[in-house]
Amino acid sequence: MSRLIPHLETQNLSAYYGATKAIEDVSIIIPRNQITVIIGPSGCGKTTLLKCLNRFIELEEHARVEGKVLLNGEDIYSPLIDVTEVRKKSGLLAQRPYPLPMSIFDNVAYGMRIHGLCSRRELAQKVQYYLQVAGLWEEVKDRLHAPASQLSIGQQQRLCLARGLAVEPEIILGDEPTSALDPISAQHIEQRLIELKQQYTVVLVSHILRQARRLADYVVFMYMGKVVEAGPAQQVLNHPQHERTRAYLSGEF
């Protein structure tokens, strides 16, 4: 087994919505170039943890974060860090894809344009490249300037993937990115994610155990806002150390 190099690391991370504690004292690592899947029953704080990783938690009302999230060893909650830089470094796939209100082409070009990532001449080439990486190019190459809203929901999710990759992130965050998709589209997305871990670190929230088994290299199991067990997928899914993990894996709750 290869050595785990942490890409992201949380240290004593807690998050609150008003007076409610959503996650408590989470200290985990997210290994580089692997797929980390966060599992656990609904309401256990999986999504909150994910939102802490790109400072999306700040968009919630009355949300408060304690502790640290280190990206390449640097605390993303440090006042010296620009929040847009943090978010640029991580691509996000939401539960339901939300294309931007523009054409397919502009959806992918948007991020490159606002960050000035490439020249006008390279733009078309890059858009094609990222659409190819997301496995959407063949389906849309003849209608790049059609509204993105005309795509099927599965295609929209791949467009969101392409759009996220185009800002050259290091990490891809997915909040149950296949839950709104049909099985074929879900398979498409899973396939892409497996390919992408060569270059990116992937963090997924999933409530589907079979999906975790298919994709995960590293697993974080959460229960009631706390991390019960985290480690390589082999170990956590096949030889869980904790009673709760065992109970969850055997479908008891």
């Binding site: 790109n54 999306f56 968009l59 009302e61 847009t84 830089e85 978010r87 640029k88 470094k89 991580s90 691509g91 996000l92 939401a94 339901r96 939300y98 294309p99 931007l100 209100p101 523009m102 054409s103 948007y110 991020g111 606002i114 960050h115 509204p147 993105a148 809203s149 969101c160 759009r163 996220g164 800002v167």
Partner: protein
Amino acid sequence: MAKWKWQNTEEKVMQVLMLLSFGLIVMSLLLILFTILSKGLPALSWEMISQTPKGGFYFGKEGGILNAIVGSLYLALGGTFIAFLFGFPLALLLNIYSSKTAWADLVRLSLDILWGVPSIVYGAFGFTVMIFLGWKASLLGGILTLALLELPIMTRAMDEVIRRVPPELPRAAYALGSTNSETAFFVITRQVLPGLATAVLLAFGRGIGDAASVLFTAGYTDRIPDSLFSPVASLPLAVFFQLGTPFPEVQQRAYAAALILTLTVLGISIFSRGISYFLGRHSIR
């Protein structure tokens, strides 16, 4: 026969009430159209819309109301433009930077109150300010007063449209590392373009049809203004002055002027519907 149920009766009563109110609205619209068409159409001529008033126009002599048509367009376009310059950024500000703050609520409340202020008050206010500045009745005075009148309408209409944007959309933009202003101008604005067009049109319609606010501030003249500081005529005042004469043929021309005003608003309305449809083709539903 089915068992009698109170809910079914209630349903029927509501249906009848809705039909009645629908009928009332359509009837009033048709009656207004019928009145201005039947009285105005005979007086409507090419001369009416292509000439300024000649001597003795208000006694039934030759000429037209081109001065008022052009004047109204100048006034309403200018007022709408200035209202947009302030209203649009304000509506974005209310939603992006401070949507749920007490400050935003206070601004919304103020705008709602301003919306309800009668236009003659705006006219009097504009007039007072102009006297203070030593201005005479002028195109600029009229434009600024109309801008004041239109601002709350346009801003609140835009505010409501922007408020209905699903929160996932700005989030998608933030996830790509957009700043607030990039999200506001490139993403939210594109999503709500049709709604913005409607808001602008609503304000424009209010501005072009208003007589009281321009009565003191813009004045009235038989000529087409050649500078921002000349007085300017407007269609609502053309209607008002011509209806006030004792001559039936001049009164008829008032209806023709009203018809022109209605057709102008209708034309712009249809045009902007088309634009809205075009602008909205990328909106996410």
